[in-house]
């Protein structure tokens, strides 16, 4: 059923998945917001490891730079500025929790069944490029130059909009 050969790649995949799943579970179960952000940063790092396994080093380290570094620090800043006192845990509702657990298990069952039964066609085998970073750059500036430019315009608009909103609050 599971035709897996146990090699280093599989071990690394297993470790990174464990990091991501544990981080995600801690993210929803921890009480303090700062702890949640740290476990989320753990998920981001695990994801970066997955990208490395897929030979996508550029995406992997951009993931670390943007998400594990910048976004996490930004969130921590926000949390510190707004000063959260450790929120009290809600009283446990047994019925609610049982139903939630059943729903979650059903969802898992459906997804697992769907993934196991799907026949993944072997789309053209990955053509390993010598330097995938420069291939990404070439594609961005030739075939995908219009979406790339549009995205940068969108980001600039969002950036200016954020400044404008912050200015308005000051007055």
């Amino acid at each position: 059923m599971f035709n897996i050969d146990f090699n280093g790649e599989f071990a690394a995949f297993f470790i990174f998945s464990a990091i991501m799943i544990i981080g995600a579970v801690l993210m929803v179960s921890l009480q303090k917001v700062v702890h949640m952000v740290i476990s989320m940063a753990g998920v981001f790092l695990g994801l970066a490891g997955m990208f490395v396994l897929l030979d996508a080093e550029f995406v992997a380290f951009v993931q670390v730079l943007i998400y594990a570094g910048a976004v996490s620090i930004l969130m921590i800043f926000g949390i510190m500025m707004t000063n959260h006192r450790g929120a009290k845990a809600d009283p446990v509702k047994p019925l609610h929790e049982t139903l939630a657990a059943i729903a979650a298990l059903c969802l898992f069952g459906i997804l697992f069944y769907a993934i196991r039964t799907t026949d993944f066609p072997d789309a053209q085998p990955l053509q390993a490029v010598e330097d995938n970073t420069s291939s990404i750059g070439e594609l961005l500036y030739t075939g995908y130059v219009v979406p790339f430019e549009l995205l940068s315009v969108l980001l600039t608009v969002a950036f200016i909009g954020a400044i404008a909103i912050a200015k308005k609050g000051e007055e």
Binding site: V34, E57, V62, A68, A70, F77
Partner: protein
């Protein structure tokens, strides 16, 4: 080193690679020990003092004694601190500091990882240390620590932007993010083939932003002794404090090595007739000069004011580094292609 990296991984190779890592760790620890000693000596001489001269001959064992003191000190954790994060922060600060060193090539043969996005790897992982500093400041539950952590994060994020953009010119010139290819692109025999002259604007911005990233004088606001007690690590003592200090000096090592690789031609000799000297000697000379330069700055500059700091980063360094990217791209388009 290259042979082990490209062979399939066997257990014996894994052990050899692990041992190399351990040897390298001790080299870095030795560097940190004597960098601190020389920093105190050099600053002492520049300020007409003698510097440490009591422990061992010429005071050579002073840092060893200091480290021993830190290790046997009582390890205090404030009762109202966030215990988990307080313990986690020094580790999270040191691990990226050591891992970024993996991509630095020392000579043509001596390197630890041949990564095609080496420069990006450096920039990405060093950001994690900022996270650790903010966490350490926050977890201490102390207003000075929190202020220091905040200042540090604001400063390191602001200066990381010009730091990364200032090396884009180097990437354009050499056409690669791989640090080994960047050094190879600076071959040519003479020192004017190195990137620091063609990329003089980028070089200056890089040096200023790097000093600021290191939180050293004149940008040592996160731990400004006279106004913040000590900054983000005020509640730390013993070996946890030692880890913060250690990562700070490991980053000195990293930045000095990175500057050598990016701008000063790595292991290349400054003139063709000096080629008989092995590359590692040139690398170490350039590296030692950068480290000395950092100490020199520390001994002679006053601290910048906190309100000028952000202005310098965003309004001066960022536009200048962007201009450098435009100039380099324009030059390559008009004259090289």
């Amino acid at each position: 080193m290259g042979a082990w990296l490209h062979d399939p991984l066997t257990w014996s190779d894994a052990v050899i690679i692990f041992l190399w890592g351990a040897v390298f760790l001790f080299v870095v620890l030795g560097f940190v020990t004597y960098a601190i000693y020389f920093e105190r000596k050099v600053i002492g001489w520049m300020q007409l003092r003698i510097g440490p001269n009591r422990v061992g001959p010429l005071g050579l064992l002073q840092t060893v004694a200091d480290i021993f003191k830190l290790l046997i000190k009582e390890d205090t954790i404030p009762r109202k601190a966030d215990r988990l994060l307080f313990v986690l922060a020094p580790i999270l600060c040191y691990v990226p500091a050591f891992t970024v060193l993996a991509v630095i090539p020392y000579t043509e043969k001596l390197y630890f990882a041949d990564l095609n996005v080496g420069l990006l790897y450096y920039a990405a992982l060093s950001g994690i240390s900022t996270l650790a500093i903010v966490l350490g400041g926050w977890a201490s539950n102390n207003k000075y620590a929190l202020l220091g952590g905040m200042r540090s994060a604001a400063q390191m994020i602001s200066y990381e932007v010009p730091l990364v953009i200032s090396v884009v010119g180097v990437i354009l010139l050499s056409g690669s993010l791989n640090l080994r290819d960047i050094v190879d692109a600076q071959a040519g025999g003479w020192f004017w083939d190195w990137n620091f002259l063609p990329q003089i604007i980028g070089f200056v911005v890089f040096i200023i932003a790097a000093v600021s990233e290191l939180n050293r004088t004149p940008f040592d606001l996160p731990e400004a002794e006279s106004e913040l007690v000590a900054g983000y690590h005020v509640e730390y003592s013993g070996f946890r404090f030692a880890f913060f200090m250690l990562s700070e000096y490991v980053y000195v090592y990293a930045i000095a090595a990175l500057t050598t690789v990016l701008f000063l031609g790595g292991w290349h000799a400054p003139a063709p007739f000096l080629d008989f000297v092995p590359g590692i000697v040139w690398f170490l000379l350039k590296f030692a000069f950068i480290v000395f330069f950092l100490f020199w700055i520390r001994a002679t500059f006053p601290r910048i004011r906190v309100d000028q700091l952000m202005g310098l980063g965003w309004k001066v360094l960022l536009p200048v580094s962007l201009l450098n990217v435009f100039l380099t791209a324009g030059y390559l388009e008009l004259f090289v292609k």
